[in-house]
Symmetry: C2
Subunit: 430 residues, 2 copies
Amino acid sequence: VSARLRIGVAGLGTVGAEVVRLLEAERDVLARRCGRPLEVAAVSARDRTRERGIDISGARWYDSAVDLAAADEVDVVVELIGGADGVALDIADAAITAGKALVTANKALIAHHGTALTEAAEKAGAALCFEAAVAGGIPVLKVLREGLAANRLTRVYGILNGTCNYILTEMERTGRSFDAVLREAQDKGYAEAEPSFDIDGVDAAHKLAILAGLAFGARIDFAGVYTQGVRHVSAVDIGYARDLGFRIKLLGIARLTEHGLEQRVHPCMVRLDTPLAHVDGTFNAVVAEGPAIDRVVLEGRGAGAGPTASAVIADILDVARGVVAPAFAVPAGDLATLPASPMERHVGPYYVRLSVVDRPGVIADISAVFRDENLSIESLIQRGRAPGEVVSVVLTTHDCEEAGMRRALAAIEKLEAVTEPPVMIRIEHL
Amino acid sequence: VSARLRIGVAGLGTVGAEVVRLLEAERDVLARRCGRPLEVAAVSARDRTRERGIDISGARWYDSAVDLAAADEVDVVVELIGGADGVALDIADAAITAGKALVTANKALIAHHGTALTEAAEKAGAALCFEAAVAGGIPVLKVLREGLAANRLTRVYGILNGTCNYILTEMERTGRSFDAVLREAQDKGYAEAEPSFDIDGVDAAHKLAILAGLAFGARIDFAGVYTQGVRHVSAVDIGYARDLGFRIKLLGIARLTEHGLEQRVHPCMVRLDTPLAHVDGTFNAVVAEGPAIDRVVLEGRGAGAGPTASAVIADILDVARGVVAPAFAVPAGDLATLPASPMERHVGPYYVRLSVVDRPGVIADISAVFRDENLSIESLIQRGRAPGEVVSVVLTTHDCEEAGMRRALAAIEKLEAVTEPPVMIRIEHL
């Protein structure tokens, strides 16, 4: 392998431009690291004339990214367009069909089509690499696939969305509301104008499904991810969490249970002594657990041109060295089809906040509901004392099953003294 | 590559036994992950009859580990004996000479001979792998070599010795003395009966030299590591650190400066908001910094049978897949010879604690010494008020050069009112 590797870059947004810039700026050291020269042979983007601060005059221009993916002068196709279907999927199909290596940062594409693409790539003898799709600059896929390959992992979880983590961090730091902090995040460019993919947990769910497939050698099951975002996290609950020794983080968690593969994305209360409690702002982090290693924690920037380009180029270097382990750690034919463990079967402790009229017997009524569902209360605190007025009751439970908790909350909501729908946040043992 | 890979294990202590146990227990999944069966074909240890809880009846026994390393029925030699020279070096030489892959957990061997072994291995076409030599279960070498290969790193640092981190964590948690906590660590098996390699920083220095060589593409320079251990860290300074918003950690730090490669291991004061401040007990952590990624933090167990075996087997799987990047990221011939940046040229803030007689003029005398060396004091606090008695004066500086700081401390020690040698701990901007 001493011939140059010819790279086609489809998509020249901030990430694509940074990939091209770094490949040029670090040309010599990258060639030493992979044993052969890397060359941007072809590019494609929507607007040919836009100024991007990079020199693409040496690369062949394609108006059609799909044509680029099939072009003879391209050895590795870098897909940086995005979207689960449409042109991104067409590019992937074209590259793999042509037997070319495909490098992508597209988490939606892999979450929806990763298993099928892996099967096709294996049949075609093509490499499929997507390090940049999960946790940006943190090489978490390589770590799970290769660095921890000796392990039978039991749980993988993390802070997978920097927008949500920034919002929760700022809400805790400043005491401001979700809406106010979201607007600030949009002004700073940490949240999109249309933020629902991030704040409703979809982006984190894409990444979790990919992580789970790799960690457990299973076919990706994005539809099996229970997903709840951060829109309804309030400053009040962040404050009570702190009083109880917790912080609230949006986590993605995957683990094997007796019911199958549990995959869930939702706000969690985590204790201050767990590493993820201190991962703030736009940082991401992933934790892998298994009997041999106990736990390994990886933290870094989950988005942005530099971190994403770092992951894309690491994949290109693996392709250049001819050194690509199976995308999901085992051959596609060996991937297991794991049943989705339903969220109703989830077991863990819970935080519940109730708005109730402060009068005799209310606590007894609430306690009776929990008793009837066999849910064990760990602590119950009435916040404030104002006979006849509405006060907060905050309680935490020991391990409960989600199904019983949901029934209890539905029953409590119907109590006459309860003035608002109960707020429930899961507590996570990490 | 479908033929079985025949492994020879030299050294059957707790790590060697765990490697053999895991290879057997996870035989099927490991074969799927690397595409071929793994087989323990040969073993060697001091005592053939010792009960280790593993079945080695299928492996050929060698009384001489060097004979094992040269044996025809072995494809990859796993060296788990330890020591910078002697039999470990003989095994390495024998394996490489025979063109076999060498996997080792031996940090002393690599710190002293890593560059020469890499050159020999490259000439022989043999793989050389030592993931287990640094930070145990954390795949930090793979991350630096491959996952972050697109980056021009500027600084690499970490908590590289679990024994020291346990001692410092317990001293802070309990307020007890170094000696008391060391004895407890020895009772718990976290420190050796002869603990000097750990507590004097030598073990961390071995690991730092390896990390620096890999991160900066440089020939290893273990002799260039400034090394100071934790023996002299007192509960008093840990308490004052906390009052100032710091924790004390033994760090290994490598970075490129205008004077060359700075490598140093010493106790550092780190701010509470830096990730390493929360890495407690026997955990290790490594941080890599560069312009593209900002920073990536890796945390996990740095020692113990499970984590070390995890790293050893990950290396074996890379060998089995035929997938081994150059040991120090670039071919040995391309490794730079970097001058060692002398510790006297180190620049940073400092913490200084003085024991002085509480009387008029003392602070003025101390301040004058700092002024004469052009050292800028950030804060100076006299702890307590007891005219005529000995009190503590604690001060912190802005960035200073180490040479000037050392001259100032020597001058202050000679002041008549100063009753004990000054205590100096470097503050680290992380």
